[in-house]
Symmetry: C2
Subunit: 479 residues, 2 copies
């Protein structure tokens, strides 16, 4: 490898530069040969694989079945749902040729697969007995974004997209909400990321959806990152795509649909929620390597290798463990483990061994803990949980302390300028929303779910707006 | 679902029609909206997911690290390796537009990723200390084939592609062979498919490779299916793409490379190796559902649900188990389990329960076995292994009995016409190979690895060829 331990710009100095420095290191990514694309290297792809495994387990309990649908969407199929087309058209990578031959019809690389699932569902459902039908796929999608940023916004990204059909609109609405709270719990439990759960305003909802739910996370610079969405599609696709079922009265009816997804943006969210000036810190439950064992001065003390092996055998049944037995310096080994964000490392060296001890070093606090070699397994189990809890608490405290309810538009502008999450009564009009964005850089993140309402007939925060509202909305600058 | 229990054409009557009938049933696939593409439905995608899991475990032990590289290859990058381009050019799906805008450069959807990995490796390797570098990715690739057939040859398919760099050509050659025998063992142990391992002739090798190894399986109609390949690329890519490392003498040298892959063709191989006139039979170790529990007349006897639950709880810790508690008829439930190829089903009904028994039905032999309900777990464990062994033995016996060594070209033609695998001394000349294919429909499958050689200076089997040869080659009609 190229020397990986390059200098990382301190995040206090330049957050954007810090982020770029972090992602270029730690075996996380490389730029792809097409602008706006990246290579997911082993350390980032490893996190994604664990996210897949854990989400698959959760999905299975909800009756989700995994499938794989084609990459390409013929133009005629895409053009049936108007709002959907308008939302995606400018970003569609389009296949027009094979070899030297021109194709008769344009083929779009999927930006999302609603219309492909619609085409499949159309021929898969007969009666209410076949419903609900709950499919999911893991794949890559393409959206030709103008401005890109590794993991956060790339022209090709990886995701899962769930698509369901229901016989009953209430059941479908409920499933939409179930999935968004599933994501919120997943981010808390596995990624140590707290989020605000809520509904998107009409202006921010998914092109083609009736309503969109979102989880919004706060990055270390105070900006928001949309970390997962769940859409209630109603019959918006099932009508133009003619997805019908026979209901209990033996009448043909269009199905009610949902779709929901999380993407490799989550890797960016992990970095910007937990990372520090030494690089990424990976939450233990999704870390490809949970524990690094560093052999120190093994050439001088044969017991080092012996104890390292013994610890590896003990831990590797339960944890993902790696051994660094190279002849690099102690400092290099430690930095290498740190820059890759491995949550815990165990230093096995002659001095500690003389006391029958090894040293554990936490990646989050950098605290060093000398323990008896017989206590390793017990201590590692405890520390990995502690690290998770500590990462979550720090992120939660930041989210809570940097989310404020404002009284007027001046205060709104002031807090947005300081990168706060701002809660304010808002009319949810698209024009007001666009003008606020122009004036402050903030967009609406969501109408939060678990929050008291302002009461009826409160004035909208936007100063030029006369509309009364009964809703609080969260605003922030966002990735 | 549409009624799935459609009639399947007997395989003895029309093998091709039988195959089409099988794949359209059993929740295996649907045709995609673009010609030549398919949807992998839960039962086929489920097999693929288990293949992924099991191969990942095996790969990890060989030091493989998973990554994900971009879908698109810019034209300038693709055009550096001449043989590779010529092999793939006519089949390349090409992105020329985004939205309404024309791109400056054509972008090809990857038909394979040698050149993308080359571009990554170029910037990832400094010295011999960084080698070997062993990467793998799971993704979809696209090759615009003229004739397509579900799973066997589709314009988009799923696969894994491993790519490695080595400092030493011998080590790289050895790794190439290691991977092909890894695949052979995997097919035997997990898919119950025996194969012939060997080397491709120059005419059949991968475009860009120095040598290609293959595993060749025999389908129930006697035709061959190439089930996995491993290529020694030598420096064919590392030279044009300038992938260098500093060797132990501190001199810059080009790396030695390999690549290797298996695809969703394996799903077709499973069907055509084990399937019967009731549909697919899935080998137990890769079956998404290993055991179906059918509740029979549960409305008449409350004990049915109780025992079904008890069996489910016992088995589901160790096996992938599904319960059919629907109110469908006994016959429908049984056929439904059979057409989906579930290796074993347990029928829980009042009559058996009166004797404290349940009935186990094997999908391979259709044998019914009444057993005491206390013996279920033990018997299921044994039977699933038996089913695997039985499927493998039947396939192995077919492969052995239908592979013949021929003495002259007349016998060659006769045996090929009967869909045998034919072993013959062959000069390995490309022209002779093409003419044999024109005359008989057979292509060379491989120069087999574990087979006695004919001795030096034997005549080539092709009657118009005067060349002497010391090699046996396997010929067959192939998918």
């Amino acid at each position: 490898m190229k020397k990986e331990l390059e200098k990382i710009t301190p995040l206090e100095v330049d957050f954007a530069k810090w982020y770029t420095d972090v992602v270029k290191n730690g075996n996380l990514m490389a730029y792809g040969p097409t602008k706006g694309t990246i290579v997911f290297k082993p350390n980032s792809y490893g996190i994604w694989e664990i996210i897949q495994q854990e989400l698959n387990k959760i999905f299975r309990q909800k009756g989700v079945q995994n499938v794989y649908l084609p990459l390409l969407i013929p133009e005629r199929l895409f053009n049936l749902e108007k709002e959907h087309i308008e939302g995606f058209n400018p970003e569609l990578a389009t296949v027009t040729k094979v070899g030297d031959r021109d194709l008769n019809e344009k083929l779009f690389i999927r930006p999302t697969s609603e219309v492909l699932f619609a085409d499949l569902f159309k021929n898969s459902i007969e009666s209410y007995n076949d419903l609900p039908l709950i499919y999911n796929q893991w794949c890559s999608v393409m959206r030709w974004e103008k401005t890109t940023n590794p993991f956060l916004r790339t022209r090709e990204f990886l995701w899962q997209e769930g698509h369901t059909c229901h016989s009953d609109p209430m059941e479908a609405r409920k499933f939409t909400r179930t999935m968004i709270s599933t994501y919120a719990k997943f981010l808390q439990k596995y990624l140590a990321i707290p989020t605000i759960v809520g509904k998107k305003t009409p202006h921010e909802k998914f092109a083609g959806a009736c309503s969109t739910y979102t989880i919004e996370a706060m990055m270390k610079d105070g900006k928001a990152l949309q970390a997962g969405t769940s859409h209630y599609l109603a019959q918006n696709f099932s009508k133009p795509y003619q997805i019908t079922f026979k209901n209990k009265n033996n009448q043909l009816e269009n199905v009610y649909q949902t779709s929901w997804g999380v993407t490799t943006r989550l890797l960016g969210a992990i970095i910007m929620t937990h990372g520090d000036n030494r690089g990424i810190i990976i939450p233990p439950r999704v870390a490809p390597v949970q524990v690094d064992i560093l052999e120190l001065f093994a050439n001088k003390e044969p017991k080092v290798k012996e104890v390292s092996k013994q610890i590896y055998d003990q831990l590797s049944k339960k944890f993902r463990v790696r051994v660094d037995a190279s002849d690099k310096t102690v400092g290099f080994k430690a930095s290498n483990s740190e820059i890759q964000g491995v949550p815990l490392r165990i230093e096995v060296g002659p001095r500690d061994l003389a006391n029958n001890q090894v040293t554990l070093v936490r990646r989050d606090t950098l605290e060093k803990i000398a323990i008896d070699i017989n206590d390793v397994k017990k201590t590692v189990t405890m520390l990995l949980n502690n690290i998770h809890d500590n990462l979550y608490s720090a992120a939660k405290e930041r989210l809570d302390s940097r989310t404020v309810l404002v009284k007027n538009y001046d205060e709104f502008k002031e807090k947005i300028a300081q990168n706060y999450f701002v809660i304010a009564p808002f009319c949810c009009g698209s024009e007001a929303e666009e003008r606020i964005k122009e004036e402050t850089g903030a967009s609406t993140r969501c109408i939060p779910k678990n929050m008291d309402k302002p009461g009826k007939d409160v004035e909208c925060i936007f100063e030029s707006c006369d509309t009364k509202t009964a809703r609080y909305v969260v605003f922030a600058k966002a990735y």
